[in-house]
Amino acid sequence: MTNGWVDIKNADVILAMGGNPAENHPVGFKWFIEAKKVRGAKLVVVDPRFTRTAAVADFYAPLRPGTDIAFLLGLIRYALNNGRYQEDYVRIHTNGPFIIKNEYSFNDGLFSGWDPNTKQYVKDSWGYQADPKSTAYGVDPTMQNPRCVLQLLKQHVDRYTPEMVERICGTPKDKFLKVAEIVTSTHPANRVGTITYALGWTQHSTAVQIIRTAAMLQLLLGNVGMPGGGVDAFRGHSNIQGATDTAGNTEILPGYLKTPQGQFQTLADYYKNAIPMTLNQQAWPSMNYWVNYPKFMVSLLKSVYGNAATKDNDWGYGWLPKIDANYSWMYIFDDMYRGSSMRVGGKETGPEGFITFGMNPVGLGPNSKKMIAALSKLKWMVVVENAETETATFWKAPKEYGGAASSQIQTEVFMLPAANFAEKDGTFTNSARWLQWKWKALDPPGQAKMDQEILSRLFLAVQNLYRKEGGAVPEAVLNVTWAYANPVNPDLAEVLKEMSGKALGDIKDPKDPTKVLKTAGQQLDGFGQLQDDGSTLCGNWLHSGVYTEAGNNAQRRSTADPTGLGMFHNWAFSWPANRRIMYNRASADANGQPWDPTRVGIRWDGAKWVGDVPDMKPDAPPGTYGAFIMLPEGVGRLFAPALNDGPFPEHYEAVEAPIANPLHPKVTSNPTALIFKSDQDSFGTVDKFPYVCTTYRLTEHFHYWTKHQAGGVLNELMPGFFVEIPEPLARQKGIANGSKVKVSSARGAIEGTAMVTNRMPTLKIDGKDIWHIGFPIHWGYAAEKGHTGPLANFLTPSVGDPNTWTPEYKAFLVNLEKA
């Protein structure tokens, strides 16, 4: 989320799309209702289903799963053609005025630079045109130049007429126009709207571009950085934000630093690739905050390797594992299944050992049959869990999931009992980036242990083995520090201190070198004090400041909210730097005065920025730097050169789609989409699988956990799996409500109880009646007795977005029959 949960109350218009916040984030949804009741805000829901959110919306419009980009580009076209965008904002806070290289083009569904052999883009042509006379970016403040971003955008979206939106999305034209009118009503400076989304956008083969389209719309409407504005991703798990912040994923190190690749053999090489280059620019220069990258990186390496990290050995950079290819989720299981990785210069082995801490990949991953087949090939597996999951018991999966006989499976499986949330302390980071401390309430049951203890024991045991026996590059193992007061079971407050950062030597005030800001051993105040000379240690620069000399800021509990905007600066700690609204510099105009005096993000008081913690150098007067300090051009990107599938979003059909793309039938789906092609991967076509299918969650269950609760209320509230079917389709097929139906895809078939409803609309797509059905995840073969059910992901394909490699769960093809 760029903004916060409570901040949603400041919105005048809320577009909920690609998510069902009432269902999945009911308590966050409180602030939607607050906006409606107190401000009279309008809530607009655009969704394939008439959801619980739609039930209380001011306006609902249906669309076909997987066509969000077409809808959003239609909104952008409407805004641009009707002058319903905030021109001043676009001029100063976005790259709208920037001139793009002449080589950039878009034809028949492909952008310039397409290489049909690698199926990837060469992105050279997607850049800014440097001014020939200077090294600065070419900029046209009038935004009339036909090669400026705004004009190119206008040209790009011109195809997305309301008629085309109706043809692609199935949204009736009048409903689309009504949505457009409400959403773009926030274009005046004193009106603000937010767009909220969740996995309904991220789980598509065009996911990143969908979200980008929303961000572009918000930039055009002048809503980014504003209280009540922004683009708000509602993350699904208590610490999923924290997992990404602290390097849960293969491509990043803590704090979104990049995982080094083999081609960068020294830190210097690595920095060259990691730190974005900036050109000078007319209006104002960019702060390009990533120039501080070496400070973050060296402090991180000091926290990993301690005293072993010295200037001479590049702070231990050489020991860090380097990647040369993609090692993310679907690759893990693809390589595990195939037993090798064929994508790296030469053949390497695939995983033979697998550790999962509190994760259930058999339930979570696409194409469950392939997941089970992959796990069956492992030598060993460790599952650390609260309950016996599908993953832990994959070796006794029911036959229909393709599992081999357990005698045939040679995997040694360890299932270790872990504490749950109430049985351990530590911080969770919520969707609004707040790190909040929770206290331990009781001991884990039986022999269950806290996960930090389980991990520490394993870590120390492995280190011991290497110390005693040596092995492959033992120093990479032995030099990692674990110097906690109790290394077997580290105190998490101590770990948080390490993450927040401390001085290893004296830190001097850059403005007055005679002044010592911090002496060795003291906690740092924030990432501004980090050094690249080894005199600071910090496990995650983004978290810097969470644990200062003043104490554990994640434990703060002041409910004071002097602005009345719901920022709560003294409640817990929000990364970065306790900032509550990202890009808040954009909430003020060129002179630093707020666009809307009733909703002040920050304002320039003549000497400093006041309000929220400024997303800006606190004493840099307006005009010094652009509002988007992390981007090299310093402004919000309507044109984004960095992504893998195009600088502008474009509607592509899902990989399994019921129609060819009406815009360019030859390039129907995302040409760069990640598609796996093992013998376990198969894809369906519309003749055999005529219905679009989408999956989702329910408010009554949490993922694959709550079905395990013996005697639990949640199993009472929602006892079992169902399939939502449009009433006309059910009638045609003779399916009665409550009867059993079979849903099949190219991957397999599942059975469930039919829920026949008018909440699933019939849509006219490209002249045809197209139906979509849907069902919730949550069930599986491991559950409390009486509450088992089919694995939803048995039907989903191994297909993903080319930028995030997230699977396409939200739109695929199925057939439906009476069971």
Binding site: G248, N249, L320, P351, M359, N386, S406, W434, T481, T706
Partner: protein, 191 residues
């Protein structure tokens, strides 16, 4: 009209009843016990979605050495700025999540080819897993890639981290991953 009919009926009641006076003790009742009047409160954060509602966990006992805490109730924290005391059905039933009988309480191992779990001690489990990690790492380790570049990675292992692990754990886990050289790593954030 409605009202007058009711009044009429009331009057009839009064007229029809034969007064024997009434028992004053009946005017006060002690029916329902306030069940959390003697519990210890611990502030926590709901482990489900990313709204991060504040919860208060009510446990038996006062944390004295001889008291074994068990959860009797979980309720919203009214001070929490986002949730303000409210919770969704999942949050309200957190007690079920903590206390349900399908919780794992013993380390278990399933031997290759076996069709059942065997109990294993923590020490044995840790020793065996550590041995697996070392064997796999030593066997699969790629110190240099095909181009001769130092890469120090261990593609023989994959690790997936959860979404309800604390930040601190995630950091420790990343350190372990770094030590073991695991390139195949991911989290719930991907899926």
């Amino acid at each position: 009209m409605e009202l007058s009919r009711r009044n009429f009926l009331k009057a009839t009641t009064v007229g029809g009843a034969i007064a024997l006076g009434f028992d004053l003790s009946k005017a006060r009742a002690e029916i329902r016990e306030f069940k959390i009047s003697r519990t210890t409160e611990t502030r926590s954060i709901c482990p489900y979605c990313a709204v991060s509602c504040g919860v208060i966990i009510h446990t038996l006992g006062d944390r004295s050495k001889n008291a074994v805490a068990s959860v009797v109730h979980v309720e919203g924290d009214p001070d929490h700025p986002i949730s303000r005391g409210s919770l969704c059905p999942k949050g309200i039933t957190l007690k079920d999540d903590i206390t349900h009988k399908n919780r794992l309480t013993m380390p278990k191992v399933r031997r290759p080819g076996s069709d059942h779990w065997d109990d294993i001690t923590w020490d044995d489990a840790v020793a065996r897993i550590a041995r697996h990690i070392k064997t796999t790492r030593d066997k699969s380790f790629v110190a240099r890639n095909a181009k001769g570049q130092v890469v120090n990675r261990n593609p023989g292992m994959a690790m997936i981290g959860g979404c309800t692990d604390t930040n601190e754990f995630n950091f420790l886990q990343w350190k372990a991953i770094t030590a073991w050289g695991v390139p195949y790593r991911d989290s719930q954030a991907r899926v």
